[in-house]
């Protein structure tokens, strides 16, 4: 099994921007290691699996990055340094509140003695202000590092590098693996170079299982860290047993289990000896509370207990 995951790295070259991103993570972790605070690696969004070397088509995993990007804001509020490893164009912390045309609709032009200036409309200033303030504060304190990926290979290279840089943080490192990572891929040598042509009829795609990186991650890369994984299913009847199975198999600390259809109102946190349901009440949903606030509170509390001597 260990050979299997090593083989993935030996047969898939590091992405072109890997060196730059690794250097950014090195600078970030070195700076925060000296501060003796806690650090979270949050992964977010889906990974793609190309069907061609010159990629026109790919298999993707459903994930807007809501869970990861919202959670990042709450980890920052809890004073964690955060490496946000996210799928390009999935949601990012802070800016996630202003998607689509919404941003342009916030603005108005005023003319003063011939000169134009642009303001956020007065009636929405109150809504924008706290988000902008937190964003600016985080930027100033350099507490957040965003690193983007697209493909499964990009993700796996960055994940391993980030883990290795988190090792010296020991128990102060928390991994919050919310990305929706492909289970299947097409091995590099089986991939056509050019766009598949439809003239010759529909192709059959043979997929191969992606090695379970949680295994080397927990046992080798960050053995002292507090590792939280996620389990998304559509079938409620197998959810808890799948979560327990993962804990037994990988021996990490916590699985956050959720059902696709209800994941914004309810999750179940499974540890080796506890099962805790976190959910939003109708009143909380009404007042726009996000379930990620509850999840992050629960996780950071457990992490604090785990860290205390």
């Amino acid at each position: 099994m260990s050979i299997y995951w090593e083989e993935f790295y030996s047969t898939h070259a590091a992405p072109a921007d890997f060196g730059d991103n690794k250097a950014r993570m090195e600078e970030f972790t070195a700076r925060h290691l000296a501060k003796m605070g806690k650090i979270a690696l949050i992964t977010s969004g889906g990974t793609t699996v190309p069907l061609e070397h010159n990629t026109v088509r790919f298999v993707d995993n459903f994930s807007a990055g809501t869970r990861g990007s919202a959670s990042a804001e709450y980890f920052l509020q809890e004073d964690y340094a955060v490496i946000f490893l996210y799928r390009f164009k999935s949601l990012e912390p802070f800016v996630r509140h202003f998607m689509g045309q919404k941003f342009l609709d916030l603005l108005e032009i005023t003319k003063n003695e011939g000169a134009s200036s642009i303001q956020v409309k007065t009636n929405v200033t109150e809504e924008v202000l706290p988000i902008l303030q937190q964003y600016q504060a985080v930027k100033k304190s350099q507490q957040l590092l965003c690193v983007g990926f697209t493909s499964l290979a990009d993700y796996l290279w960055l994940l391993r590098a980030a883990c290795e840089l988190l090792t010296p943080f020991k128990t102060r490192a928390l991994l919050y693996l919310a990305a929706a990572v492909s289970d299947f891929y097409i091995p590099s040598h089986q991939m056509p170079t050019h766009k598949m042509q439809s003239d010759s009829g529909p192709p059959t795609i043979s997929l191969q299982l992606v090695p379970k990186m949680l295994k080397p991650l927990v046992s080798l890369w960050v053995p002292e860290a507090f590792v939280v994984s996620f389990k998304l299913e559509t079938d409620e009847t197998i959810l808890i047993s799948k979560a327990r199975g993962a804990l037994e198999k990988y021996n990490h600390k916590m699985v956050i289990a959720n059902i696709l259809q209800t994941r914004k109102q309810k999750v179940v946190v499974v540890t080796s000896n506890t099962v805790t349901e976190l959910l939003l009440t109708p009143e909380e949903i009404q007042s726009d509370l996000e379930i990620e606030e509850k999840i992050v509170k629960f996780v950071t509390k457990s992490h604090a207990v785990f860290c205390s001597p």
Copy 2:
């Protein structure tokens, strides 16, 4: 063949929001039909093909929506009414200039007698102003209708409905089919209900060819319209022959052919009796000119000739 495309609609139900979107398009086209101007239907972004009914995984087509969203702005400048049929979360006209964190970085907070207000920073006002002005003008004149899709089935239902509403515009209707539509899909009855489990080993996905909707579109839905399709390839040697083949097969007006790697600097416009290369000079690239400006100028000029008696 005609039975084949009809079968797609009879076996794939209209999406839940189809009725609402159709009503919006009806209102839009009715209003603009009275004005006797030109109208463009622009399709943009990729379509997804779900691998499960409760969709966790899907096959996607590479497309950020750059071509379609940029072109929409230039068609609006040429006084076309525009229906922008786009993949949710792909680029949209105007707002495409402010992606990622860029928007929050444009803003600054000022305090005046205790009250906070938010402005666009003075040094970027000049950059934001023309885009915001065009956006506001278009919004006021109601010249642009944006309609979103995700899956192949969503797209095909909306495409046919839009075409039927464009029929009364006769030659004044222009179709600019820039969306990257899947060639393959998994028929509804072959799709599993729940997320595929990896325990039982990697699955094999059998794909089926998507019927070529350009056929009924040109010959039945909008027979008088000026139809422009796109051809994206990665292999230069087959590009022109594929474009010619499409024109012969579907009998529409124009194919804009491009190679994945160079598509932002160069396209080849192929008609039944002409081949025209449009490209950006190094100076034009330097000054941030977009190739879509040239494409839209060429297309609208050809459309004007086509419309004139």
